[in-house]
C-alpha cells in the first residue's frame, strides 16, 4: 500500500552543471555550555573558496580547492576534490553569532547557543 513517504521523488537534490568531484570532509563536533563547535578538515581550501550557509535549521559547508598541480601524474592516492557536507542544526543556536576560523586547511565553526538555552546558575541560599 502506498504511503506518503513512498511517493516522495527519489532525488530531491539539484545537480551541478559543472562536473567537479566532491568529497565529504571529516568533522568533529564538540559542545560546551556556550556553544557547539564543529571542526572540519578542508585541505587546500582558502577563505574565499569557503561557503557556509545557514537556512532555517540546515547548515551547509562547501569548500572549493585551489587548482592542483598541472603535470603528468605518476602515482595518485587522492583526488583533489571539492568538499560539501550538510548538517541539521539543533534548535537554540544563535544564528547571528556564528563565527568561523580557517587555518592550515582546518575550519573551526562556532555555533553559540541562544542565551535562553544556556544553563543558568541557580543560587542556593543557605537558610
Amino acid at each position: 500500500m502506498a504511503t506518503k513517504s513512498n511517493l516522495r521523488p527519489s532525488s530531491q537534490r539539484l545537480e551541478n552543471v559543472e562536473e567537479r568531484p566532491t568529497g565529504t570532509p571529516r568533522v568533529d563536533v564538540y559542545e560546551n555550555e556556550q556553544e557547539l563547535l564543529l571542526v572540519c578538515d578542508l585541505p587546500g581550501v582558502t577563505r574565499d573558496a569557503l561557503g557556509i550557509h545557514v537556512d532555517q535549521d540546515e547548515l551547509v559547508l562547501e569548500g572549493r580547492r585551489s587548482a592542483g598541480i598541472s603535470a603528468t601524474p605518476l602515482a595518485s592516492e587522492f583526488r583533489a576534490t571539492d568538499f560539501r557536507r550538510e548538517f541539521r542544526l539543533p534548535r537554540g543556536i544563535d544564528r547571528e553569532k556564528i563565527e568561523a576560523e580557517l587555518k592550515a586547511g582546518v575550519l573551526a565553526l562556532h555555533l553559540p547557543k541562544a542565551a535562553s538555552l544556556r544553563p543558568r546558575r541557580i543560587e542556593v541560599k543557605s537558610g
Binding site: 568533529d28 563536533v29 564538540y30 578538515d41 581550501v45 603535470a71 592550515a104
Partner: protein
C-alpha cells in the same frame, strides 16, 4: 624474444608500475588507522624537469613536519595533534591524531641542492629538481 611491439609496451608499462610501487613505500605508521592506504595520502607528478610530491596534511604547519632527502629517497615524518578543546564534551570525532613516517623512492636522480617544500592550507607540495643528467634533452633533428 621480445620482438613483438605489444610485449615491449607491456614490459615498459610493467617496469614503470613497479618503479612507482617502489616509490610509495610505507616504513612505519602508528596511531589509529582511519584510512587503509599509507599516510599521508600523496600524489607524485613529473613536470619533465622536476618531481612534485603533493600530500594532504590538514591542520599541520611547517613546524609539524620533517622532510629529509637521502640520495634519491625522500623521508616525510611528523605528527598531527587533534585539538580536542578543553572543557568540551565530544559528540563526534572523525579526525584522528597520529604520527607518520613515510619514504618515497624517487624514480630518477634529483639535485639535492634544488629541493623546495611549501605547506599551505594543509597541503604540502615538495618540488625536487631532477639532476642535470636525467633531465630530458632536446635532440636537434638536422634537415638533410
Amino acid at each position: 624474444m621480445f620482438g613483438n611491439d605489444f610485449d615491449t609496451t607491456l614490459r615498459l608499462m610493467d617496469q614503470l608500475r613497479r618503479q612507482v610501487d617502489r616509490a610509495f613505500d610505507e616504513t612505519e605508521r602508528q596511531g589509529p588507522l582511519h584510512r587503509s592506504t599509507s599516510y599521508p595520502p600523496s600524489n607524485l607528478y613529473d613536470t619533465g624537469t622536476a618531481f612534485v610530491i603533493e600530500a594532504e596534511l590538514p591542520g599541520l604547519t611547517d613546524k609539524d613536519v620533517e622532510i629529509t632527502l637521502t640520495q634519491d629517497v625522500l623521508g616525510l615524518s611528523g605528527q598531527r595533534q587533534v585539538d580536542a578543546p578543553e572543557g568540551y564534551s565530544v559528540h563526534r570525532q572523525e579526525r584522528a591524531p597520529f604520527r607518520f613516517s613515510r619514504s618515497y623512492a624517487l624514480p630518477a636522480k634529483v639535485d639535492p641542492e634544488r629541493v623546495g617544500a611549501v605547506l599551505r592550507d594543509g597541503v604540502l607540495v615538495i618540488t625536487l629538481e631532477k639532476a642535470v643528467e636525467v633531465k630530458p634533452r632536446r635532440i636537434q633533428v638536422k634537415a638533410s
